[in-house]
C-alpha cells in the first residue's frame, strides 16, 4: 500500500463529507474516516462490529491494490473481495451486500454501455445502504478507455483473384443422385398426405365422438344395474363381438375419466374386473331387481 493511495481515499471521503449536510450520513462518513485513519496509523485491530469488519476489508483491498477511489475496477475488486471473504470470518450478510452493491453498479454500467447513450448518465443505485460508498463509485464520467488510434487508420481486406471453373462430371452425377433421393422423399410425403386426407374423410371426428358418448351412456346404465362392489366385465357384455368392443372401449373411457377402476389379477388372460369409483353417498345405484320392478308396467 502506498501512502498516496491512502491519502486519495481519505481525500475522497473528506470530499463527500463536505458535500453533505444530513447528520446520519455524517455519522457514516465519520465511521469510514475512522476506519481509514486507523488503517493509516497502522492499527490492524480487527473490528468487532461485523459491518466495520466488512468495510475494513474494503479499505484494505482498495488501499493494498492501489485502486483509484474515483474509479474502482469493480470486476477485479469483487473478485478479490470474494477471495478474501473465503479466507476470513466475516459477516456474510454484510459481505454479501457489498458484493451485491458492486454487482448492481456493474450491471448499471453494462446497461449504460448497451444503451450506448452519448451523454454519460450519472450512475445511481438505490438498492444498498452504504450510500457513501455508492458515491465513491458514482463519478460523472464512466471510466473510459483511452485508446490511441490514428484517425486515418483504415483496414481493407486483401484483394485476391478467385478463379472459377466449370462443374465437373462427378459433381453433376453426385448432384443428380442427391436430387433423385430428395424427390423420392418429397413424393412419398405427398402420397402420405393424400392418404391421410382420405382417412380424415372416413372418420369424421364429430360423428365419432357423438357415437362414443352414446356408447358410454349405454354402458354406464348397464353398470348401474349391476349393483355395487367389483364386477366381472363379462357381466356387462350383452351380445356379440361388436358389443364387446363397444363395451370395452367405453370402459376404458370411463376408467380414464376416473369413474371406474379397471383391473386384472391374472395376466394376461385372466378375468377383468371393474368397480365404480363414485363416492357411495352421492351414488345413485339401483338394485337390478328394483330397477326391473320400476320399469315393469303397472298392473
Amino acid at each position: 500500500m502506498s501512502s498516496s493511495s491512502l491519502e486519495g481515499v481519505l481525500g475522497h471521503l473528506m470530499f463527500h463529507k463536505s458535500l453533505i449536510d444530513e447528520s446520519d450520513r455524517h455519522q457514516k462518513l465519520d465511521r469510514y474516516l475512522s476506519l481509514a485513519q486507523a488503517y493509516q496509523q497502522g492499527d490492524q485491530v480487527v473490528p468487532r462490529d461485523p459491518v466495520d469488519k466488512a468495510l475494513q476489508m474494503v479499505f484494505d483491498l482498495v488501499l493494498s491494490n492501489n485502486y483509484d477511489p474515483w474509479d474502482i475496477d469493480l470486476i477485479s475488486f469483487t473478485d478479490l473481495y470474494l477471495k478474501k471473504m473465503q479466507q476470513s470470518e466475516v459477516n456474510f450478510i454484510v459481505a454479501g451486500k457489498l458484493v451485491f452493491m458492486a454487482w448492481s453498479i456493474l450491471k448499471l454500467q453494462s446497461e449504460e454501455v448497451l444503451a450506448a447513450n452519448d451523454e454519460k448518465r450519472q450512475l445511481f443505485c438505490s438498492d444498498w445502504d452504504f450510500d457513501v460508498l455508492e458515491d465513491m463509485y458514482a463519478t460523472d464520467d464512466v471510466p473510459c478507455f483511452a485508446a490511441d488510434v490514428p484517425e486515418q487508420i483504415d483496414l481493407c481486406e486483401a484483394v485476391r483473384h478467385q478463379s472459377q471453373r466449370p462443374v465437373s462430371l462427378v459433381e453433376l452425377l453426385d448432384a443428380f443422385e442427391e436430387a433423385r433421393a430428395e424427390a423420392e422423399v418429397a413424393d412419398a410425403r405427398a402420397r402420405i398426405r393424400e392418404q391421410l386426407k382420405v382417412v380424415d374423410q372416413k372418420y369424421d371426428p364429430r360423428n365419432h365422438s357423438e357415437d362414443l358418448e352414446k356408447d358410454v351412456e349405454m354402458v354406464w346404465s348397464r353398470i348401474m344395474k349391476c349393483g355395487n362392489g367389483p364386477i366381472v366385465i363379462d357381466d356387462i357384455f350383452a351380445g356379440g363381438k361388436e358389443d364387446r368392443v363397444t363395451v370395452f372401449i367405453s370402459l376404458l373411457f370411463l376408467a380414464r375419466n376416473g369413474k371406474i377402476a379397471l383391473w386384472q389379477d391374472d395376466l394376461p388372460y385372466g378375468q377383468i374386473f371393474m368397480e365404480i369409483k363414485i363416492p357411495w353417498d352421492i351414488g345413485t345405484l339401483e338394485d337390478a331387481k328394483a330397477a326391473e320392478a320400476k320399469q315393469a308396467p303397472v298392473m
Binding site: 472459377q164 471453373r165 462427378v170 452425377l173 443428380f176 436430387a179 424427390a183 418429397a186
Partner: protein, 167 residues
C-alpha cells in the same frame, strides 16, 4: 499511362468474372480510349513475359485468366461456377425432361425457382411457356458443358444412367 495500366490490371485481377468496358471505366474512372489502350498494353506485357496469366476478350467482356495449358494447376483452388444446389436441379431436369417448372417445385421445393434463373443465365436449360408454368429441358449448351456426345434428351438420360451405374 502506367498508372492507368495498373488500375485496369487491379480491376481485372480482382474480378472472378469477365467485365464489360463500362464496368472497367467506372471502377478506374478512366476514359474508354485510355482503358482500351491499357488493356492492349497489359495483354502484351503478360504475353511477352510468358506469364501463365493472360488478358483476353470474351465476347464483349474482358478477363484475366489462366492460359489453357496452365488451367489444370489452378483447378484444385478454383471455385465451381454453379452452386451445388442449382446443379442438383439441373441434373434433375436433365434426367426427367421435359419437366414442368411447377412439378419440379413440388418435388424439390420452391428454391428451384432461384436455380432455374441461374441455369437459364448460364444457358444450360431452356424454358417454354406451358399454361401458367414453364416446360423445362436442357439446352444444346448443356451437352457441350458436360462433355456429353449428344444433346438429344434420350441420349442424355441414357448417358446419366450409364454413368451412375459406373460410379
Amino acid at each position: 499511362m502506367d498508372e492507368a495500366l495498373r488500375a485496369v490490371e487491379s480491376v481485372l485481377f480482382a474480378s472472378s468474372r469477365p467485365l464489360r468496358m463500362v464496368e472497367i471505366e467506372g471502377a478506374t474512372q478512366l476514359s474508354p480510349d485510355v482503358v482500351r489502350k491499357a488493356i492492349a498494353r497489359l495483354k502484351k506485357q503478360y504475353d511477352e513475359v510468358g506469364s501463365s496469366i493472360e488478358v483476353v476478350k470474351i465476347g464483349v467482356r474482358y478477363s484475366m485468366q489462366l492460359r489453357k495449358q496452365y488451367s489444370n494447376y489452378g483447378m484444385p483452388f478454383a471455385e465451381v461456377e454453379l452452386p451445388k444446389d442449382a446443379l442438383k436441379t439441373a441434373a434433375f431436369i436433365a434426367y426427367n425432361q421435359p419437366v414442368l417448372q411447377s412439378d419440379l417445385a413440388k418435388s424439390l421445393g420452391s428454391e428451384v425457382y432461384e436455380h432455374i434463373k441461374l441455369l437459364r443465365e448460364a444457358n444450360l436449360i431452356a424454358a417454354k411457356r406451358s399454361g401458367h408454368t414453364f416446360m423445362l429441358t436442357t439446352s444444346k449448351h448443356f451437352a457441350e458443358y458436360f462433355g456429353i456426345a449428344s444433346s438429344r434428351k434420350e441420349d442424355i438420360k441414357q448417358w446419366m444412367d450409364e454413368q451412375t451405374r459406373k460410379s
